[in-house]
Each structure stands twice: as structure tokens, then as C-alpha cells.
Amino acid sequence: MRNIYMTDELEEIRHQVETFVEREVVPNGDQWEEDGLIPRELLEKMGSLGMFSLRVPEARGGLGMGEIASVVFAEALATSTFAGFEITALVHTDLAMPHLLRSGTPEQHDRVLPAVMLGETIMALAITEPDAGSDVAGIRTSAVKDGDGYRLNGSKLYITNGVYGDLVVVAARTDPSERYGLSMFLVESDREGFAVSKKLDKHGWRSSDTAELTFTDCWIPQENLLGTEHRGFYEIMKNFQNERLILGAMAVGAAQKGIELALQWTQQRAAFGGTLYDKQTIRHRLAMHQAHVDAGRAALYHAAWLAENGVDATKEVSAMKAFTGEMVNDVLYDCLQFHGGMGYMRESPIERMVRDARILSIGGGATEVMLEEVAKRSML
């Protein structure tokens, strides 16, 4: 048993995800990195196995599990070393889908949830804009009431699954007089006025598609309003905790995998009459990194447990996100270093992992923003 938060079922889910990843993802990931795309057949396979239904209530055909299950899932996906693949699945399950699950009406659930669970409909979440990132209240995209619906105008930036996704949860301003006057909408990607204005070229996560989206007089029917009008800001804030747990799990998983690769390499790489691992400086640095990974994992599962039990864990989640986002970059830096010249080659997984990890201290709340959340809650 990995820790006190695990159950036999979660342990088995972890095992199955790792097995799936080893067989279905690892042999193909390099091609997907080149294509900038995760094949839909793979996502549908994951959907058919129930991998997208962990958080869906049992009454809706899901497993009705909580934050700990999401963390287990994300950490297990991270054994793939292809974080672009991981984030494609996780944006669907843990960034976009929670809005649908929490705020969606029974009619909306009936209409879209079955295909979403099966991976036939892939979801994206569009909050960030050119002038609004972590400062969500700066959103300018507007949705103006127009007949039996809304007229959407504006643009969104850095939208994961934005190029090939089918259903986007969009945050837009519905009350211009109120700083937090936002609403959430379900926007189908084939709707008139919806356009992928740019497929973005990234430093890492290259198998994941990232878009700039524009909405030009895009009409959204009333039944696509997600949750209560003008209350979208609070919905976004609520799911930030889940998103940050997921990114923390990706960080812990990637750091652990990086250490595993570095151990394999250093124990077989001959140098100066022994292996690299025979050098105390390398052994000890890897051991200290393992200690940091263990500390990050403990913070991660504890924060997930708090969230799952309905405790406001903003401070713990923010601290964990800040810590793991920096930790994974420190750990993987050394793991690449210990691979020597091979670590600098595009063919080595560790080279890709270092590029992929860079976003983990930026996305979903940059370290500086996270530390501010902690600092605000630490004042006497």
C-alpha cells in the first residue's frame, strides 16, 4: 500500500493505468509528439475503459470518486513520460468536465455526458485571455443576451484541447458593471462564429494541441449556459483547487519517473572504473531528490484528502502546487545532468520530460501566485 489514503481499488486502478500507459502510450508517444495530436481512438479506448468517469456520479454511470482518485489517475498517467498525452486526458476529465458535472443541469448531462465519458466528445476549458491569466476577473470576452441565448465575442489563449476538442467550457463577461460578473457556457466547436485562430507552437507538451480561439458573434442558446448567470467567477475559483491537485500529481509523477530513469542510466553507465552510481555525489543527490518527491507526494495526497472531505484546502493546495511545480524542475534538471550528453539528445525521454515539466510551475497558477495565496493565509 502506497499511503494511508489509498484503497485496494485505487491501487488496482493505478496498476491498470500504468499497464495501459506502458502498452498503448509509450510505444507511440514519439509519433504523437511529432504530430502534435493524441489520436481520438486512444482517447475513446480510455473512455470505454471508464478512465474518464472517475468523478462522474454513480447515478450517471460513473464511479462517483473524489479528488484522491483524480490524483492517483494523474500520477499513474505520468509514468508514460509523455506529459502532452497526460494533459490531453486530464484537461478533459479534471479541468473541463468538473464544470459540467457541478453546474450542469440534468438536461445538459443527458445531452452531453454519455459521449464525454466515452471520449467521443473531448472537452476543453477556455478561461485565459491575452490580458487575463491568473487574474480571472480581467476577462474581456463578452456574452450579451440576444433573443433566446447569448452572443459571444472575444478571444481565448493557451487553450489545451482547443484545436481538436469538441466541447469548450468558456468563461465570458455577462455583467460589465460587476468585476466578477462572469458566466460559463458550453460551446460546441462546430458552432458558427467559433474559430481556432492559431495552433500554438510550444516549448513542451508537444503532443497536446493548444489553441488561440476567437468568438465572432458566436450565438449560444440559453440551454448552453452552465450554472447560474453572473456566478461563473466563483465556479472557476472552486475548480482551481482540483486543477492544482492534478498539476501537482503530474509533477510528483514526472519527478518520480525522472529519478527512475536516472537510476537506470547511472547504474549501467560506466565511468572511471565503475558506474556513475558508484559516485557518492550522484547517489546522494538522487537520494535527496527522492526525499523531495516523497515530501511532495505526502503534501499532494494530504491536500487531496482535505479537498475530498470538504475542507477548504486553498492554503495546502497552493503550497503543494508551488512546491511540486518547482521541485519537478529541480529534480529533472539533475536527472538530465546525470544522463550526460545522452540527456541532451531529442531521443532520450529525459530531454522531453525537462521541457514538459517547465509549464508545471507556470500553468494553473504560477508559483508566485500560489505563494501569495499561502502568504495571505499565513498572516497573524
Partner: protein, 258 residues
Amino acid sequence: MKIAVCVKQIPDPATPYQLDPTTHWVIRPPDQVMDDTDRYGVEVALQLKEASEGEVVLVSMGPAGNMQGIRQALAMGADKAVIIDDAELKGSGALSTAKVLAAAIKREGADLVIAGTESSDGYTGVVPQQISELLDVPALTFARKFEKTETGIRIERQTQSGYDVVECGLPALISVTAGVVEPRYPTFKGIMQAKQKPVDQLTVSDLGLDGDSVGGSGSGQDITEVSPVPSRQAGQVIEDDGEGHLRIVELLEQAKVV
């Protein structure tokens, strides 16, 4: 049709395991996984069940531990499991194992028994045939393809030079090779349901067997010595100075392969 599938829990091959220095038996950790070769047998059983009504019962012998391996097979879709876990079974060889499994299968009353060709830890490769002998049913071994017929089962039996088509009526036993089918992944729902499925845990006396006829005393064998596989010798490098191919042909002739 009631189908019994022989499955074995083995130490995770990814984790090194220890041998007892005196008995040379594997020290079995509580966390054991389903033998990978058994996934094929379970898949064949599930496909046959899906094609016609039926029940799939897993039959396993060995320390139950936390039953992780059994639950993995139940998560794939098997209906129930019978596991025979008894201290008297320590040190069982192939024949002891076959006696116990055959008795458990008889108790269940299966129409068809499915087994992998050999386990990944013991590799004796004789247990399926011994079970068929003890149950007095035909054994269709090394199946690389299978189909249900009106009255029984037909397989393509893998041979060194090709395959034989073999068929028989039921009850029968088939042993399946890896590659006969593509084993399914358990669904997450299957994983959650696996713990609720019935598992009968039996002892040697529950099966009406005499303790002396099974286990170490009944296996008719002693492991006297275990030695590691010698590491492979480095190959011979032939530098190609334009005549390298001639040297290679010469070596192949010496090895009598051309």
C-alpha cells in the same frame, strides 16, 4: 456452459523475489499479480461466455495473500473464484498442483477447463495435461485459435511446422498460447466490482484430499540445488575490411546453420 479457468498468482515479475535458501521455494509476498499468461485463458473464457450463456469460474492454488492477482482476473469479468490456500500445499510440484486443481474443478462441475500452457514462475508446462488426465477429459493443447462447435470445441493446435485442427465434445480441457486472443483491460467499473464478487477459499480437506498426497510430500520431487542462469557471453565482433561477409559465411557453416 460453465468454464473453469486455471489462474495463478505470482510475485510481480517487475519486483525481484527471493528463494528460501533451505527449501529453494519462492518466498511469496502478500502482493502478488495474476500470471500474465493467464490473462489469455481468462479472455478466451470470457469470449466463449459472451458467445453463449455461461459462467466463468477462476480456480487457483497458492497463498491467497491480499488476492490482488485474483481480483485482477475478476475485474476482467470472471464471475467468481475458488482459491485453495493451505499450509499443507507448500512445496507442491506440478502433479500435486494438478491434483488439487482437478479436485476443485470437479467440485465446481465445469464443462470446459482452460489453462495457459505454462506458468511464468514454474514453467513446468505439464499441469494442464495432468489435470485433463485426472478429470478423464480430452486435452486440446497449445490452442492458437478456438471456436465453439455445436457439441464441443474446436481449436488450431500450434505445432513446430504449422497447426493441427483438433476438436472434441465436452467436457474438455484446452490450454492456450499467448497470442490466441488480445486480453482485454479491466474496466474501472470491473475493478470496483471485483471485490464484491464471491471468492471461495478452500483447504485440502475441503476437497476431500489426503494431505500426504499433495504438497511437498506428494509432489515426488525435491529441489536439490538452484543456480542462476549464466550470463550471456559477449558476441564476436567481425570488423569489415571488405571481406567480412566471407568470415560470417564461414562461421555460419561451422555452426551448421547454412
